[in-house]
């Protein structure tokens, strides 16, 4: 039981939860979105700045549980500075991990601290928490790109 819990609440997650990276809304940004987990009411405002096809910045303001907060922190670490294409691939890899019901082996080279979320996949009720920031990021990035194409 404690082992099961420990697989969910890995040290990395608790560290990011207590000291989230990139938190706080910043300028400049190309798009801002507000996402809600309607199940529980967790809310997230997230900004993305895309410059020349690169995720120049991600910043956010989140109210939520350890998993959703830590996920926002890890996600920002992973995507900032990447090309949108690379970042989308990381997003895809993370999504596959989350939907794998604990059967997918995480790839540390791609996911870095994100591998700590492997245990979340075994808690279906918490998968949404881990995905909230990623979904918001994807949405915001799409909008930022749309705008930059106008």
């Amino acid at each position: 039981m404690s082992a099961e819990l420990d697989s969910l609440y890995q040290e990395i997650i608790l560290d990011h939860y207590k000291n989230p990276h990139h938190a706080g809304l910043r300028d400049p940004f190309g798009a801002e979105v507000h996402h809600v987990n309607p199940t529980c009411g967790d809310e997230l405002t997230l900004r993305v700045q895309v410059t020349d096809g690169t995720v120049a910045d991600v910043s956010y303001d989140a109210e939520g549980c350890s998993i959703s907060q830590a996920s926002a922190s890890v996600m920002s670490d992973l995507v900032i500075g990447r090309s949108v294409e690379e970042a989308m691939e990381i997003h895809h890899t993370f999504l596959t991990l989350m939907q794998g019901k604990g059967q997918v082996e995480p790839d540390e080279d791609v996911l870095e601290d994100g591998i700590a979320f492997a245990g979340v996949a075994k808690f279906p009720a918490r998968v949404k928490c881990a995905l909230l920031s990623w979904m918001a990021w994807k949405d915001a990035t799409a909008r930022a790109q749309e705008d930059s194409h106008v």
């Binding site: 809600v36 309607p38 199940t39 529980c40 009411g41 809310e43 808690f123 279906p124 009720a125 918490r126």
Partner: protein
Amino acid sequence: MIEGLLPELDVIRKDFPILERTLADGRPLVYLDSANTSQKPQVVIDTMVDHLERHNANISRAMHLLGAESTEAFENGRDRVASFIGAPSREEVIFTKNASEALNLVANTLAWKGPHQLGEGDEVVITEMEHHSNIVPWQLVTERTGATLRWFGLTDEGELDLSDIDDLLTERTKVVALTWVSNMLGTINPIAEITRRAHQVGALVVVDASQAVPQLPVDLQSFDEESRPDFLAFTGHKVVGPTGVGVLWGRREALESLPPFLGGGEMIETVRMESSTYAPIPHRFEAGTPPIVEVVGLGAAVDYLDHVGMEAIHRHEQAITGYALEGLAGVPGLTVLGPLDPTRRGGAVSFELAGVHPHDVATVLDTRGLAVRAGHHCARPAHARFGVQSSVRMSSYLYTTPAEIDALVEGLHFTRDYFKVS
């Protein structure tokens, strides 16, 4: 031997516990009322029981193990239904309480602000062969918005009279709502062709597939875009599933263009006292606790049908219907309402028996263990069109045997004798 029957009919019949029931005098039950509601195979009942005894919890909102299991079972039902009808996306499958609610959902929301809001000068086109559930919602919304209700008439053979289609479908037409298979006449309508024509004038097309989905292999993805309806409704209890659940499939953009229907838990994103925002489809149209165990049962039901195979079920229905039409033709004074070619109709066969009121026919048959329906089958206008007030209807399904049709024909001869009709 009749061609097209399901090869393992005996085995299939064993799946349906109610078919083992014997009635008074030890007569076996002969259930010929499947267009009204279908019987349920053991696997559907067992799946529901297992859910209630081991996994019952509310969905989405619940954070615990049972909640996760229940949510997964429920959403798996959505996957199963989506694949059963070949829906382009699982999110386009909305669960309602029955087909009637699904049809009302569309009609009702078109009264409110949105890109398709109805108003004076707009027209809604239905047909004279609709079930009341695809007539009354359109009467209500047209009365309430000032729009006009128009309809296709029927030919003497019981088919849609399309001769005035150019007059009916105009740029004023905002919605065309029609049944795929008639529950009274058995007629199969040319859905793709009418949809294409309706789309040319920019109308939304709502198809009542309550009798089609149980009988025909339905694959929405096989339609090309212009001829694919915008909405399709059917009901769980006619596809060997439980009562309490229906389905509205809608093209994503069409669904997204509708304002909210019922408001409440599950369909929201954020609620403030001043105003709320709404969840994306499908949840946007699923207010409150959904029919959880019913969706779980419906998933098992369409799995069962898939397992037997919809092509095979369709052939079986055609074979039984052909055999029934032949048998009925041998009963003096019997007139079938609707098309007589079994390859071009569904499995509901309505008829009159000269000299005996449909009620009395049904009662006599009932005392012989034969369950048929008497009345207007919720299609009073179609009855009025043929100048009759009511009729007797027999309707078969995958478990119906030729012997049961023989029993019906015999019962009708007996009925004539009993009432001394000459």
